[in-house]
Symmetry: C2
Subunit: 202 residues, 2 copies
DNA sequence: CGTGAGTTTGACCAGATGGTCAAATCAAGA
DNA sequence: TCTTGATTTGACCATCTGGTCAAACTCACG
């Protein structure tokens, strides 16, 4: 195991390569379906060498998830209580949809974990995520109280945004099987935009 | 392997027990994460005995998926071109949501498969599912042409229904982590109902 | 009851998989 | 250049896992 001094050039490069490879493999096969050999091969390292940088498969997975959680929640963080309500929400949705488009592996990584009961991130859900959502739904509720947007169950409003945007990354195969050559996101963006404009208009 | 005559009493009982156990295990851990021993134990059989009824793990999975596909698509099948457009769509949505509530294991079984690229049901998606969706979106399009419901991209309308309803089964842990004790479906039903009333009203 | 088909199982196997270790190789600063 | 810590690897191990098989047991029916 590398000592915990300042990471060397090689350590930086290899750790990054491992996490990148792990993202590919874990998002495509889930934790149990991924093998250390596969990750090592994809990172261009031998298995013992990979295990020199991370003590176990579990450790790689954990590092990956916790490293990406911030990225994943960033769009919601940006929701600003002082902005225009409709614009704030719609641009949150656009950011979420863009993440599904540009970071589908990350979306599927979390989806895999969640579908199987989130054994490894249950804590983060009940703490960080819950806190963030509570903070932001308070803003939504205030906007509703002020009559700026339609009154709706704020938690379910958030769930609906997650569901509609992440669906395109998580169930990509299904979407494409039905749409054929059409780009999913070309149609999704205006559709979702229209949906929320109608829904949120008081 | 049992001969393919009329199945005996014991064959019926054991096959059913195996599929029930397999549904539990596959939906909770995915194909790769499930073990034959686990399924056998949960079905109350020894592993060799289980493999007397199904030739392989793969075969159990396939039997399960193809057996459930009809159930899974039934709500959409019922969408009736001759009914009242708004009522037809809303009751389709209610049926879908009810399935998420009552058959969450089935939902997660498919979710697991889809998130990982649907290696085992890709064909069914491109054939059966695609055909059914095409048939039903034709009805939706006609209703739009007649001005009975708002004009929207019909495929994305269907995707949105799947996303919003299945989200509650597939990502149950996350939803519950945020809602706490509140029953997810109590809030989801009126929310989704309101959403589609607003969205579909021309 | 006898019998043959249907059912069940303990013992076993081969390959996959996560992980270890000592030895070899490499890199960078003194 | 030399030394020392960082890096890499081949060989290896224990366990898990899907699957096999022959022998034993059970059941239904004549």
């Amino acid at each position: 195991m590398p000592k915990d001094r300042a990471p060397t050039r090689i350590q930086k490069k290899n750790r990054a390569a491992i996490l990148e490879a792990a993202l590919n493999v874990f998002s495509a096969h889930g934790f149990r379906g991924a093998t250390v050999d596969q990750i090592a091969a994809e990172a261009g390292l031998s298995k013992p060498n990979l295990l020199y940088y991370f003590p176990s498969k579990e450790a790689i997975h954990t590092a990956l998830l916790s490293g990406l959680l911030d990225t994943w929640l960033a769009p919601l963080h940006e929701l600003d209580a002082d902005g225009d309500p409709m614009e704030e929400i719609l641009s949150y949705i656009r950011r979420k949809l863009q993440m599904s488009r540009e970071l589908p592996r990350e979306s599927r990584l979390f989806a895999n974990e969640l579908v199987q009961g989130a054994p490894r991130i249950h804590e983060a859900l009940s703490n960080d995520l819950k806190a963030l959502v509570d903070e932001k739904t308070a803003i939504l509720t205030q906007w509703m109280d002020e009559g700026k947007i339609a009154r709706l169950h704020p938690y379910h409003l958030v769930f609906s945004i997650w569901a509609l945007t992440q669906h395109y990354a998580d169930f990509d195969v299904q979407v494409r099987a039905i749409l054929g050559d059409e780009d999913p996101f070309d149609g999704a963006e205006p559709f979702i935009d229209t949906l929320y404009r109608k829904l949120l208009t008081p």
